[in-house]
């Protein structure tokens, strides 16, 4: 080959690429091409949609501006409950999942029952559909009528979300713990640190740093699944949307809810992408 060969260099310069459009290497020509192809794509899809036989009816029942305007405030109000649900649940999930992950990582035959408990918990709650857990626990546990147990749907919503998601998140933590090379623990123990100290000061800090992107991924899942708590009768945004929808004989309220969820989860998704890209760059830098 002759002439300058910028290709290998450019392929290493991940940081200079656009984050929004990672497929574009830069340069005016490729930018123009990507713009044109996107435009053509949107026009074709739009034409298919608008040209379909029942488009006018669909437009009226899903994209009705008046209904949108009228129901928006109430659904936003309900969405406040979704936000509360996932904020409270997340604060509970992070430590509970860590506890389960650590229980599962305990070595030695003495801890067999504790390990077993953690495994059964993670298997059962990951294995059941979330909607089923919400029905069974959300209606069943308060139904027992145990004195002192709250009846509020919000409380049971948080409990079920926490139980389901802690099972997933504990596996994320565990993968992180397993990814730390045993020589790190050996080095810590060789200095006289106890097993717990080694875990706390050496293994866990490295493990948690490594799993932040997948943790945020589960966080996105949690945000969406707050809508399931509406099944318990809690009037959050999804349930508010169904109420408004029945009242207006129109599906537009669901569009409102959908847009609200996207407004919440999309920034998080971009943040995850950015963190993943950054940690990949750091890893490459570490190899150097």
């Amino acid at each position: 080959m002759s002439g300058p060969a910028p290709l290998p260099d450019e392929s290493l310069q991940g940081s200079r690429r656009s984050r929004l459009l990672p497929g574009i290497g830069g340069g005016r020509q490729s930018l123009a091409i990507s713009f044109a192809s996107t435009l053509v794509f949107l026009v074709v899809v739009g034409a298919l949609l608008v040209g379909s036989p029942n488009w006018p009816q669909v437009r009226d029942s899903f994209f009705n501006a008046d209904v949108f305007r009228e129901t928006f405030p109430a659904i936003v109000g309900g969405f406040g409950i979704n936000i509360q649900l996932f904020l409270v649940a997340e604060v509970l999930i992070l430590p509970l999942a860590m506890l389960v992950a650590v229980m599962r990582s305990l070595p030695g035959p003495v801890f067999t029952p504790i390990r077993g408990l953690a495994i059964v918990y993670a298997d059962v709650f990951r294995g059941l559909p979330g909607i089923l857990v919400i029905y069974v626990l959300g209606f069943g546990l308060p139904g027992l009528g145990i004195p002192g147990m709250p009846k509020s749907e919000f409380f049971w919503g948080v409990v079920t979300l926490t139980l389901v998601y802690s099972a997933y998140v504990s596996e994320v933590y565990r993968a992180g713990i397993d990814s730390i090379h045993p020589s790190q623990d050996a080095a810590a123990r060789s200095l006289g640190l106890s097993r717990v100290q080694s875990l706390r000061y050496v293994v866990l800090p490295q493990a948690v740093r490594r799993v932040i992107p997948p943790l945020l991924n589960d966080f996105i899942g949690l945000q969406k699944d707050t809508a399931l708590v509406g099944l318990l009768g809690l009037v959050e945004s999804f349930r508010r949307a169904s109420i408004e929808s029945s009242a207006a004989f129109n599906f537009t309220p669901y569009l409102v809810t959908a847009l609200l969820f996207l407004a919440l989860t999309l920034p998080m998704a971009r943040l995850v992408d950015w963190l993943v890209a950054r940690s990949r760059r750091n890893q490459l830098a570490g190899v150097r």
């Binding site: 020589s183 790190q184 050996a186 080095a187 810590a188 123990r189 060789s190 200095l191 006289g192 640190l193 106890s194 100290q197 000061y201 050496v202 800090p205 490295q206 740093r209 830098a285 570490g286």
Partner: protein, 249 residues
């Protein structure tokens, strides 16, 4: 000779069916520097890891400063605080600065207050030329600097004996000398050391005694001059011939 700092009697260790140590007997006196030489797989590293109680032993006993550390029910964390080990791959904690690496064990295992642990760490870092690197993370250091930091980290626990496991094997050739200098200084300061090494010239210079390990037992031991010049065993001679042909002696 002074009292033994370390005594090993009839030490056996297997990994599954593979017998790695087949009856090691060894006594190391206080202030003595003993170098373990031998081919890869002869059991040098495993021996050091057994002494630090990283590997549980199958048979035999290990006595450090008069206490049998392989006895049932000893507090292994307490024992390890007195036995420093430095690994081939450094094993620094990547999420901590050099200073944090060095002060972690004195603070958490030795229960020193932070200020005291840091003062002591800075003194050691100063002595080994790393004080200006104290706030750097390990990945910003050269291999030689990382290994020196790992040695300082072990020294911060004020060990009675240091175990060095091929501490220069992972280094680029031009970085070996700075680490060996540190080990020389430790030897000059009277540190009791058991050193597994492939650096024969260094072993000859720094060791009071050389042990040649072959297939999990000490085949021959003696002063460096005797081992390197007139080995008694045929296998020692063969090993040294190979080392010489590789240009390592």
């Amino acid at each position: 000779m002074t009292a033994d700092a370390l005594t090993i009697e009839g030490l056996h260790k297997s990994f599954g069916k593979l017998e790695v140590l087949r009856g090691i007997d060894l006594a190391v006196a206080e202030h003595e520097v003993v170098c373990l030489i031998g081919a890869s797989g002869s059991g040098k590293s495993t021996l050091l890891r057994c002494i630090n109680l990283i590997e549980p032993i199958d048979r035999g006993r290990i006595v450090v400063d008069g206490e049998e550390i392989t006895a049932r029910g000893v507090d292994v964390d307490r024992i390890r605080r007195h036995i420093g080990i430095v690994f081939q791959a450094f094993n620094l904690f990547p999420h901590m600065t050099v200073l944090e690496n060095v002060t972690l064990a004195p603070r958490k295992a030795g229960r020193l207050p932070r200020a005291q642990a840091e003062a002591q760490a800075l003194e050691l870092l100063e002595r080994f030329g790393l004080v200006e690197k104290r706030d750097e993370y390990p990945d910003r250091l050269s291999g030689g600097q990382q290994q020196r930091a790992a040695i300082v980290r072990a020294l911060a626990m004020k060990p009675d004996i240091m175990l060095l496991d091929e501490v220069t094997s992972a280094l680029d050739p031009e970085l070996v000398a700075e680490v060996l200098d540190v080990v020389r200084e430790l030897a000059a300061g009277g540190m009791t050391m058991l050193i597994a090494t492939h650096e024969m010239g260094f072993a000859r210079e720094v060791a009071n005694r050389i042990c040649f390990l072959d297939a999990g037992s000490i085949l021959e031991q003696g002063p460096p001059a005797q081992i390197f010049s007139e080995p008694r065993e045929e296998r020692t001679r063969q090993f040294l011939d190979r080392v010489i042909r590789a240009g390592r002696l």
